[in-house]
């Protein structure tokens, strides 16, 4: 069809220009009410030293052009609403619409963070109730909603461990991290003054108790553990692991990235975990937003409560809420104000919608979906750790790699079948990993189509690996040259002069 269009250009929906390229002088996208106070001259008020003439290169477009520009861009994205989004360890579940509505209510979205407490009781109540629900779900004792994302939650948790051990007389030197951990774990540790000591996984992909025993000594401040781990396997020795760490005076940090496998089924507070973070944008349905905002509350057992970031929300016996800043042993602030409040609103709306039974059913569905995929794809793909999984399963590209097709290539081909790919090449302990987390939001119908697609791709690899290597074929752009992008970075538009 396309080559039969001769004179006319294809519509710009095919290739939307940058907003700067759509701009021409004199266009505006907004009008303001006339000023009701006397106008002023910036040059006079600010002085020649300070006044700016104009912002060079800034766009000038109409409201409709803005609408069309961003609407067109949106159509080049794949979202959870488009279809299955089985990114392992990312928990791409449905983002309920009611969450978006309540987070935008006037009074919640419009209260300033320095609003006097008596005029901000609604916002404080939401923070307090979210905190209470998260504590009930995790079985921990106290919590801070201040960390802006999971990585910041990790940092906050490690700083609290450090504060606690410092008061006990010695902050110690090392944090133990299993080789299956997310890259954020070691990166967070590095900024807290600790060094990382890596732990090897055993043949089940879990923490090797003998290796832990060897590594755990009086120089080790604690262990950072993800449970279920990044293979989707529950660390069933968790009690023993916690005992080994505690026996040497260390503390256990739990990365809550995979909490979607446990809500309503098990509580981390019962596992010997001392401190953990939660990802509201994974387990509690707040949208990922194309890469943020997230929210990474940190929950602790009683022994760490005094070190939580300041301030914390408290309820008085009269039912009034207040912010308590009087926390002399707190690690301090990790973010301005009280965290990503808007995310707490959404997470609470999710918890209220589910209720206790709904949350448990959700967990069961998430785990069932992952096991279904594991069972049905094992004939087509190598399963290096062959055992029942929790919320995600990890295959390897070993069979396909023999034909020169790697996990990243398979992922690109999956796009042609209409699916968002799984997580590629992670965890690092599985070479060529395909990490699949369907979440509870995937229907059987959708999973069957996904499984068919991956089986079909496995077949394609057998028959014509070269064809798979050039995928995707159906997207607006084909494979993008990432090497060129990094070698000579172009990070902004500049006007043609």
């Amino acid at each position: 069809m396309e080559n039969r269009i001769r004179e006319a250009r294809p519509h710009v929906t095919r290739n939307e220009a940058l907003i700067f390229e759509r701009s021409s002088p004199g266009k505006v996208g907004v009008e303001f009410a006339p000023l009701d106070v006397p106008a002023v001259s910036p040059a006079d008020l600010l002085g020649a030293d300070f006044v700016r003439a104009e912002i060079d290169g800034f766009p000038e477009v109409s409201e409709l052009e803005v609408i069309r520009h961003f609407t067109r861009l949106s159509t080049w994205n794949y979202g959870v609403d488009t279809g299955l989004y089985p990114l392992g360890s990312c928990t791409m579940k449905y983002n309920p619409r009611i969450n978006e509505v309540v987070a935008r209510l006037e009074g919640l979205a419009t209260d300033h963070p320095y609003t006097p407490e008596e005029l901000a009781q609604g916002c404080l109540r939401v923070l307090h109730e979210t905190a209470r629900c998260l504590l009930e779900i995790t079985g921990m004792d106290a919590i801070s909603l201040q960390p802006a994302a999971g990585a910041q939650g990790e940092l906050t948790g490690i700083l609290m461990i450090r504060a606690c051990l410092t008061e006990r007389g010695n902050p110690r030197k090392y944090i133990l991290i299993p080789d299956s951990a997310h890259g954020t774990n070691p990166a967070s540790v590095a900024t807290t003054g600790y060094e990382v000591r890596n732990l090897k996984s055993n043949e089940r992909g879990c923490v090797d108790l003998a290796d832990l025993d060897r590594a755990m000594d009086a120089d080790v401040a604690g262990l950072m553990l993800t449970n279920p781990n990044t293979l989707g396997i529950f660390e069933s020795d968790i009690h023993r692991i916690a005992e080994i760490v505690h026996a040497q005076g260390g503390l256990v940090y739990m990365d809550g990235a995979n909490l979607n496998a446990l809500v309503g089924v098990a509580r981390l507070g019962d596992f010997g975990v001392d401190v953990m973070h939660l990802n509201l944008h994974k387990t509690f349905s707040t949208p990922h937003g194309g890469g943020g905002p997230g929210s990474g509350p940190v929950a602790v057992k009683r022994i760490l409560e005094l070190y939580l970031p300041s301030p914390v929300v408290e309820e008085s016996p009269e039912g009034k809420f207040r912010l308590n800043y009087d926390r002399p042993r707190s690690i301090g602030r990790v973010r301005a104000f009280y965290g990503n409040f808007g995310m707490a609103v959404r997470a609470l709306a999710y918890i209220l919608a589910k209720g206790p039974e709904g949350l448990r059913q959700t967990t069961q569905d998430a785990v069932l979906n992952a096991n279904y995929v594991r069972s049905r794809l094992r004939d087509s793909y190598d399963l290096p750790y062959d055992q029942p999984c929790m919320h995600e399963c990890v295959f390897s590209d070993r069979r396909q790699a023999a034909k020169g097709v790697r996990t990243g290539d398979l992922a690109k081909r999956l796009i042609d079948y209409g699916f968002h790919p799984y997580t590629t090449a992670f965890p690092l302990i599985v070479p060529g990993a395909l990490m699949i987390e369907p979440t509870e939001s995937a229907s059987k119908e959708e999973l069957d189509a996904f499984i068919d697609a991956l089986q079909s791709i496995a077949q394609e690899v057998e028959e014509d690996p070269q064809f798979v290597l050039k995928a995707p074929y159906t997207t607006r752009v084909t494979r993008l040259d990432e090497v060129a992008a990094a070698r000579k970075p172009v990070l902004r538009w500049k006007p043609q002069r």
């Binding site: 978006e100 209510l105 994302a149 990094a486």
Partner: protein, 473 residues
């Protein structure tokens, strides 16, 4: 449960496919003693209508009927409806970080536009794709300066947002870094003489905010010269970036960072917001956080990808430039939409309106006997007043008039007893300003309240200087 798509029959069929007979078997890997068999003490399940009612009730216990003069790092500006209309395109808000570039060109192109807009606005060459918020962006900028200079001392203006300083303290506490704070002068600006005396060959960076926490514009050019004489970097923090539409950008700075919440993101009781960080091209490999770069596909068409990932945690692990693994994409998108909509002329006009409102308010307040506007430096939409008497009483009086009259500074700056930080954006009407002025007049002329006037023992600058010298020893 309305969010779950599988029927009981689906579940049974799937369970059979896994070779299990009960859902419990799937959880067998969790030791029995760790299984939670009770019922969580949680409300719900609630219908949609009940959820709406719950949050409407919470929203009613708010300051929504009040005129607010609160600024101090979070600014109430009008948000055109277009912003939420476009943010609500679920291809944007239900997408993940754009690792699979071929099906994430929407997010990637928008982030490339964000990077361009922030670079243009701040007079810098390159920008990242956003950070959590202004406070953490400031911390990241400082850590970046430490990497670039390999030095260990950082000089901070005391007029940098107090909470930003607290966050920085938290994160550098366990690193080999010494933070030195410099007091402010009578102009409300950083005390240049003091600054001169503390910046040396060990200094990695000088960090100032402009407009600073008191709303006063700092003289970036002079401070840049001072810092550069010692081969230290200048970091300029901006919490009200609308000012940059009419105020010269800090082009002399090596890093500009701060908060872009003003651009279409609601104040939302403190978050989510959108931090930014812009810098010179020569420093780009030390930038923390996500970067979007332009490239081509196999057919030579323009496209966008996440780039320079070798700086990042998922590749570098403990050697990464930062532990951050996300930006604030959706809030950055809000800013991109907002700035596109207002554009060159609209942003300037809005900034002029803010300037005019604050100027009018300052002039009117200055005319109230007993009220002072203590800092002389040029300002944008925010400034400090000193009132004769107990500020908390005044704030209560104004609250009776449905006005939140600003932020009492004493808690954050003990030397500034009875000082209020007030912000006047385009959302504050002349009528509201006149009511504020009238409330101040009533207060100042009320003998009962005036009786409580207390004079500070010294000027703020001198008090701070004394304290500074102590901490330097």
């Amino acid at each position: 449960m309305r969010y779950l798509p599988n029927s009981p029959a689906d579940r049974q069929a799937m369970l059979r496919a896994t070779g299990n007979t009960s859902i419990d078997e799937l959880f067998a890997q969790i030791p029995a003693e760790l299984r939670f068999r009770g019922k969580l003490n949680l409300p719900g399940p609630l219908s949609e209508a009940e959820i709406l009612e719950f949050f409407r009730q919470a929203a009613s216990e708010s300051s929504r009927e009040h005129v607010s003069l609160l600024g101090a790092g979070a600014y109430s500006h009008y948000r055109p409806v277009v912003v939420d209309a476009l943010l609500s395109r679920s291809e944007f808000f239900t997408a993940y970080t754009p690792y699979q570039a071929e099906i994430a060109q929407g997010t990637l192109q928008a982030m490339f536009e964000f990077q361009t807009l922030m670079a243009q606005l701040t007079g810098q060459e390159v920008s990242n794709a956003s950070l959590y918020d202004g406070s953490t962006a400031t911390t990241e900028a400082v850590l970046m300066a430490l990497r670039v200079t390999r030095r260990h001392r950082v000089v901070l203006a005391r007029t940098l947002h107090p909470e930003y300083r607290q966050v920085l303290h938290t994160f550098v506490r366990h690193q080999d870094v010494k933070l030195t704070e410099v007091p402010y002068a009578a102009s409300g600006r950083i005390d240049l003489t003091q600054l001169e005396s503390v910046v040396d060959s060990e200094t990695a960076a000088v960090v100032i905010q402009s407009p600073n926490f008191f709303g006063t514009l700092e003289r970036g050019y002079e401070i840049a010269q001072l810092a550069h004489r010692h081969h230290a970097l200048l970091i300029v923090v901006v919490t009200e970036p609308l000012s940059l539409a009419i105020v010269k950008p800090p082009s002399d700075a090596d890093i500009v960072c701060g908060e872009a919440q003003s651009f279409g993101v609601p104040v939302s009781f403190g978050g989510p917001y959108v931090g930014f960080l812009t810098t010179q091209e020569k420093l780009l490999r030390q930038i923390p956080g996500r970067l979007v770069g332009q490239t081509v596909d196999t057919e030579g068409r323009r496209g966008f990808v996440l780039t320079l990932a070798t700086r990042e945690q998922h590749i570098r692990r403990e050697k990464a430039t930062s532990n951050i693994c996300t930006n604030q994409s959706l809030c950055a998108l809000a800013a991109t939409i907002y700035l596109s909509l207002l554009g060159k002329a609209g942003l300037k006009l809005l900034a002029e309106q803010n300037l005019a409102k604050a100027h009018y308010a300052a002039e009117q307040l200055r005319g109230v006997p007993g009220v002072e506007v203590p800092f002389s430096g040029a300002r944008f939409n925010e400034f400090v007043i000193r009132v004769p008497g107990d500020t908390d009483h005044l704030l209560e009086e104004m609250r009776r008039e449905k006005i939140i009259g600003g932020l009492h500074l004493e808690k954050l700056y003990p030397g500034l007893k009875n000082h209020l930080l007030m912000c006047f954006t385009e959302t504050v009407s002349k009528a509201a300003i006149d009511r504020v002025v009238e409330a101040c007049r009533q207060f100042a002329t009320n003998p009962r309240l005036a009786a409580q006037t207390s004079k500070p023992d010294a000027t703020p600058a001198r008090r701070k200087s004394v304290r500074k010298h102590k901490s330097l020893n």
